[in-house]
Amino acid sequence: MTVAALGQRRLRRRRVYGSLGTALALLCALLAAGALLAILGYVIVQGAGAINWSFLTALPHPVGVPGGGVGNGILGTVIIIAIATAMAVPIGLLTGIYLALFGRGVIPEALRFLSDVLSGVPSIAIGLFAYAVLVAPLKHFSAVSASFAFMMLMLPLLVRTSEQAIRSVPQTVREGALALGMSNLRATVGIVLPTARPAIITALLLAIARVTGETAPLLFTAFGSQFWETNPNNPMAVLALQVFTYAISPYPNWQAQAWGGALLLIVAVLVLSLGARLMLRRAMQGLES
């Protein structure tokens, strides 16, 4: 066999390896994307049947009584997230403003580090914190304590994104405002923040999407409820918690409702995530034009 032929064979072998490897890589990408489609498809198939008007609007029925819904859980989710947002936005925005305007030195770096730390803390540990601060001292579960936990989960994203969004507003715009004799307050709130608003709202939507499906900290904060509860100081039903409870229950009726609830959750979270993406894209285009 000639040297040339040997080289030819080796080259062919390397090409085959390359094709196999590429195919394997493609397979992995398809597997990951396919996993989403598999989960999504299964939830839609199983959940669609459970969803009807009374499922969306009724109270849960006791075990053994057919029918019933997650209306109070949907309401509770909205209330708890609304309160969490009301608490997280001011703190997150103010910290973001601080980091953007005074952002050099030891203290801002420490704050950024803390924010990163918080973003990695498991939600169950944050639930324990909410329990220690708002449940144990008051000796009862409450929606507010769940909002507190959600606020902690939303903060890191809000802080980092609002800092970056404010920083990305050209310095010339801020200086233009200050050069007109505006106060820093007016320059920031009236000129810089509106310019940064699309990015901040995107972050807020993503933060809300993140907590919408969050369940672990609710176990010992919101706790759940069988009633239409609107007082944030009381235990409250939450959709994600209902899905969890129904899923691990032994009753087929409840399990079916768990799929229905899961579908609602997925739709809500995907709509929020997609909305955030669209918003960001629009904002980018707005800046370019």
Partner: protein, 263 residues
């Protein structure tokens, strides 16, 4: 300019041994100069000699930058604007500024951009009149009067720059600082703005940075020449009536510069 000449003139704004720093870097050193009321003073000099930095000290916008510091005095009507009790916001209302690159506020309409720092407490009619006056003063009215509510980002660069002038004018300052206001514009827009500067001088004391000597010769009454020394510190070389400075410069470095021998 000798002290005797200076005293004859009516000076609204003056600096006294003004130095500016970025951290430890001294960018402008010990500049003493006076600006005549209702005249156009051009600040010329090669790129990087500290013109922008000096100009930004005059309305206390320099200190907005991180670790940026100022030493010396700036006198507005004889009062030191860097004195302890002075509110920089009040100073910036009296000393307006137009930046090198147009910086209209992207989220405000053309109308709101113009009025953002106009007098308060006006009713709708008065606000509108005020906007019209400012936009006319900036020679922009005819071009935008039909789209006052639209975004300033749709305007051309020259129009945006005139909007920034209108915005500054509407705040009714006494001094108008302009940092190479035509540097990012095409020749036609440049001509419009140069014409505008001459007209604005009827009402305002103007200090305009330019690195374009022809422009300085065209628009200014007085010209100041700055140059960075060996240490990179921007110094004032000489200041004189524009006609004289360009024909009979007092300093050989000025002569070298205006005859194009360096820079």
């Amino acid at each position: 300019m000798s002290a005797a000449v200076a005293a004859e003139r009516d000076e609204l704004l003056a600096t006294d041994e003004l130095s500016a720093y970025y951290g430890d870097r001294k960018a402008v050193g010990d500049v003493s100069i006076a600006f005549t009321r209702k005249a156009v003073t051009a600040l010329i000099g090669p790129s990087g000699c500290g013109k922008t930095t000096f100009l930004r000290c005059l309305n206390r916008i320099h200190e907005v930058g991180f670790d940026a510091r100022v030493e010396g005095r700036v006198l507005l009507d004889g009062q030191d604007i860097y004195a302890g009790a002075v509110d920089p916001m009040a100073i910036r209302r009296r000393i307006g500024m137009v930046f090198q690159r147009p910086n209209p506020f992207p989220t405000l309409s053309i109308l709101d951009n113009t009025l953002v720092c106009a007098a308060r407490g006006l009713n709708r009619r008065q606000r509108f009149d005020c906007a019209e006056r400012a936009l006319r003063a900036a020679a922009l009215w005819d071009e935008v009067k039909d789209k006052l509510r639209s975004s300033p980002l749709r305007l051309s660069g020259g129009q945006q720059q005139r909007l920034c002038i209108a915005r500054a004018v509407a705040a009714e300052p006494e001094v108008l600082l302009m940092d190479e206001p035509t540097a990012s514009l095409d020749p036609i827009a440049t001509a419009v703005i140069e014409e505008l500067m001459a007209r604005l001088a009827d009402e305002f004391t103007i200090v305009a940075v330019t690195h374009n000597m022809q422009q300085a010769a065209r628009v200014s009454d007085v010209t100041a020449f700055m140059l960075a020394d060996e240490a990179g510190v921007g110094r004032l070389v000489e200041v004189d009536d524009t006609a004289r400075l360009f024909t009979k410069p007092g300093d050989h470095r000025t002569e070298d510069y205006i005859t194009g021998r360096f820079g």
